[in-house]
Amino acid sequence: MPLVIESLVKRFGQGPAAREVVRGIDLRLRPGECFALLGPNGAGKTTTLRCALGLTEPSGGTLTLVGLPVPERARDARARVGVVPQMDSLDPDFTCAENLIVFAGYFGIPRGQIAPRVPELLAFAGLEGKENARIQDLSGGMKRRLSLARALVNRPDLLVLDEPTTGLDPQARHLIWERLRRLTAEGTTILLTTHFMDEAERLAHRLAILDQGRILVEGSPREVIAAHIEPQVVEVFGDWAGDSPATASGAAAWAARHAADYSQRCEISGETAFCYTDDAAPLLAHLAHQPGLRTLHRPANLEDVFLKLTGRELRD
């Protein structure tokens, strides 16, 4: 098993001031799958990863990383794990190739063994020919890709990525997604955290949504969507003429009056009403007669589930 987490609890501080950041998480990764941990800021994603890697001691529960108990044997376990951290931590004093060679040294891999693999690792990260490039000269996307290559120097059984595509442009995100799919196809297990629902929907075989230190749902993206949300969404926005000119107002006013008649559930966020329904046809027919209101009809996605479960208010 790549990673087994049982009843993980993590508290920071002591006594009455203690904050419980992880409150009983159970997780079991299957070999070769890509598992996504989703959650708003402060949900406990990074703390869970740090516990799993043995970088901080859990307050309760047990962890087993690539078959070894953590934190007791975390050092041995990490020999078979690759990590792409949230913040770039490349060595600015070294070139791209030196970053890989020196990092391999931390795994006890001698230079003679890693040096011949450097071109292949750089090519995997889309950094062909960048052996001698300095880190300062790389773009944000290139740095993240080099971090990915660095995480692969030890041919890990489990690759852990903390928000791998945050801050990247679409081209870089797609390249990273493609490479991660290639890795899972070759049998590497992947655990990633992300804010991007489309990332989780595209990549993850299974996912868990975390909030306030607990897992709210777990399953494949399709299962989670099917189980927790109506299949169709109609977003309604713009100006509503109202029943009379005196009551004319925005989409919220329309929703207060009519949404319940045509949808199972409706949420207002800013200027937009999100109507969730099993059958959008009657709603769309009604909206066709409401000049000023504009609509977007789409299938429900993971983001809808996420927002339903974790709420729409800001977290930080």
Binding site: T56, M87, D91
Partner: protein, 259 residues
């Protein structure tokens, strides 16, 4: 894990040491010149300048007296700057330590590697200064070579004490307190520039306990071709400061990074 549990070290720490060495090697020449210029200028300037006013100190020329002190305090400075500024930048700014901890290397190994590296770099700098001192003829006896282990031990000691500061520093500015409140007064009290016998009795008793005093007490006689009196005691004192200081620095670093 208790933050004060004993250090758990593995040979992997040499991979971390090697990383610092490889970076240093890229800039070895400017680094050595930087470590060399300041103390050598001071030694020659004060030695020949003040030397005109002070014909002899403890039976030797002032510059010959100054050589041992210069060697000790510049070793201290080299180790201190390395763990404070470079160490803090690796720990906090560049996140180099975080990256290494994702590999099968524990924080204990990293902090120990920083300690050893700073002592090594201080030894490289100190040995270069020793060479200049020898060039000017103030280290004529072969006994002067015995000062190299003293340099290393001095480097270890100040690296360990400096790592405590690094462990608790919120930013680079914090280190200014360490220099103005500890390093500079100690340099003046440890017999670098004048014999400690000149100090009032009460001050002298305390000053003789300072780590730099032990380093000077070892380095000066060796450069003058004499075996230091109480050599073992001074060496043991440096070690007796190094070990608990390292332990405290490790505990504070664990508390900072492994939470």
């Amino acid at each position: 894990m208790n933050a004060f549990s004993p250090p758990c070290l593995t040979p992997r720490l040499f991979a971390v040491w090697r990383r610092n060495f490889l970076v240093w090697r890229k800039l070895a020449l400017p680094s050595i010149v930087g470590n060399l210029a300041d103390p050598v200028i001071y030694m020659l300037g004060l030695g020949y300048g003040l030397g005109l006013l002070v014909p002899e100190v403890e039976g030797v020329s002032y510059i010959a007296f100054l050589a041992g002190g210069t060697l000790a305090y510049s070793t201290m400075n080299a180790a201190t700057f390395e763990v404070l500024y470079s160490g803090f930048s690796r720990m906090h700014v560049q996140k180099t330590w975080d990256a290494i901890m994702n590999a099968p290397v524990a924080l204990d190994d990293i902090v120990a590697a920083e300690l050893l590296w700073a002592a090594s770099k201080a030894t490289l700098a100190g040995t270069a200064i020793l060479a200049v001192i020898a060039l000017f003829g103030f280290a004529a006896s072969p006994l002067a070579l015995a000062v190299i282990p003293v340099i290393f031990l001095t480097g270890l000691c100040f690296a360990a004490v400096g790592l405590i500061m690094t462990a608790v520093a919120p930013s680079y500015d914090f280190f200014m307190y360490y220099f103005t409140l500890f390093i500079t007064p100690m340099t003046l009290l440890s017999g670098v520039f004048f014999p400690q016998g000149q100090l009032p009795d009460g001050v002298r008793v305390v000053a003789e306990l300072l780590p730099l005093s032990h380093a000077v007490s070892l380095a000066r006689p060796l450069l003058l071709g004499q075996w230091p009196s109480q050599a073992l005691l001074h060496g043991a004192a440096l070690l007796a400061i190094t070990l608990p200081a390292f332990w405290l620095a490790l505990a504070l670093t664990r508390r900072r990074l492994l939470k």
